[in-house]
Subunit: 334 residues, 2 copies
Amino acid sequence: MRRTTLKDLAKAAGVSVASASYAVNGTGSLGEETRARILRVAGELDYKPNQMAKAMKTGQTGAIGLMVPDLTNPFFPSLAQTVIQTARLSGLSVFITDTEGSPEQERRSASQLIDHGIDGLIWFPIVDTDTLGPLLANTPTVVLDRILPSYDLILADYALGGELAAAHLIAAGHREIGIISGPLDAWSARIRAEAAARYVEAHAHLAWTVESAFAIDLDPAIKAVLDERRATGVIAGADLMAIGAIRHLQSQGVQVPADVSVVGFDDIPWAQLTTPALTTIEMPVEEMGVAAVETLLRRIANPKGSRRKIVFNVALITRSTVGPAAGAPFPERS
Amino acid sequence: MRRTTLKDLAKAAGVSVASASYAVNGTGSLGEETRARILRVAGELDYKPNQMAKAMKTGQTGAIGLMVPDLTNPFFPSLAQTVIQTARLSGLSVFITDTEGSPEQERRSASQLIDHGIDGLIWFPIVDTDTLGPLLANTPTVVLDRILPSYDLILADYALGGELAAAHLIAAGHREIGIISGPLDAWSARIRAEAAARYVEAHAHLAWTVESAFAIDLDPAIKAVLDERRATGVIAGADLMAIGAIRHLQSQGVQVPADVSVVGFDDIPWAQLTTPALTTIEMPVEEMGVAAVETLLRRIANPKGSRRKIVFNVALITRSTVGPAAGAPFPERS
DNA sequence: GAGATAGAATGAAACGTTTCACTTGGTTCA
DNA sequence: TGAACCAAGTGAAACGTTTCATTCTATCTC
């Protein structure tokens, strides 16, 4: 009833344990016919190598970790899915952990993963500081969406995204534009907001900027700013916040996009579902997930290679939350 | 630069390897003061037990698997999140795998997980047949939302849910009711549809039943049935399908709920976001996730114990997709 | 004071692999 | 003919733990 071990296999095939190991792994130098015989017997006995023993011997577990800040943010399940699928192609399993938006949890999760002996880690950090440096010293790691220079980096061109969003609103005639940024201690949020702000200031007027968590529920303070109606166009640093803003505006009887236009960021699946459907900046989640796994694999194979940084493109997805600036309450400036 | 091993620790503390092991694990019989000293040295050396070696010796990896059909269905990330969090409380890590709605993938995933040596498995099967029986023979397993009698089962009272949905529509005056069921080879879908149908037939009239995948995109055939407008009330076997139906109806100029009322099932996070917000049947995902982990832990501790079946309650969440039956095109009966 | 007893600590085997170093026997070649 | 070589196969150590069986020492009991 015990699982068959290499020793059982060796005995059954009448060879040494070493030969059995070589046959199973396709390594070593074995006669064509012996190898075939061993493999046949292995099939009959339904031999499956014990990964734990293998892991202990080789130090490789065949598992990688994926740390994301919040699985209920619909952005992350998409990412997780492609990571899982891509990893599977290489026979790797994926430990997923939700760091709950907290650097301490991040640290706990990381050390738990490392204790379990992962071969590598794909990490979507909460903030821009490398809080995990010493912990990850021996673990090949690729970082998503944050600038931590000591790792391989998978990014998207968020500066472009911010400009695209701003340009789109301005092209629609909006002159007073507000920005709801994500937490500024996160690179992706900061760069989006900065690029958008710069563009707005150059071509129109920046009415206000506020900072928000990546969530649908907006702070009362932010709602208050929205209620002042000083901007006819709003750029949100994430679709979740855009949706939150739209819902709030609508609840106050403000029409989107007739009264206020909104553009989001991320193109989460929900973005198509809202009414009106959300105009937003799309980032290639699938490609980023695939790139993350591939880069990790490369890093595992060659821990000392030079760091890699891959930047993906983003694109404006035009749906229905941006309309022409109507009854502009402020004087046009040419 | 090598990680400190038990042997290093033993040498540094001037004791045997065995003592070191006992001290670290709090087992064996050691003098109070020796134990303390070893632990202190362990702290200084930052000793971390090598889980792989431990796993090989004990056969326990401290990891569990979670297999779900589709991570992009927003129902599952919520589940995954609670499972991860609950597991973490017991120091367990979670392998997540997406079975992509396919029994073959399910089989592949399962054997991959087993090879990696999981201590137990939480499984949300695609269909009702135990396709994995032999594979899982030695792996403690709990099954969610399907009736596979040889495992521990975590369920919700979907029959009640179906009745609640039907009763709600009927109470609003609807007499012609259609059902969009999930795949009938899945228990949860079947039982919802059957209970709803039974209730409808007893108290009103069942206009039609169609079967759909758990997805937003509905078959043309289903859209055609919707277009016939033979029902003023629609019960969908999942929120995703309900949303799909509402979107289709709206695209045809049909008002929800003025012309047609819809109730969904699951109460996924999106349900609050649609316009109008979805009236649906809520199931306690968090509690189910927690129960799944707890049941699994119990089963791991006692593989031979009697099977457990936990059934959770469901509740109707009233939002805005159900309204009074207007201009009923069919004669009221009674 | 001798034997028994209990607590404290240790030695070493075992878990299932991988892999280095080695043997064996046959072939090649000068 | 024999040295050299090669391919095929083997033995055994090692990876880092856990844990059984054992030893040692000090204390207790009669």
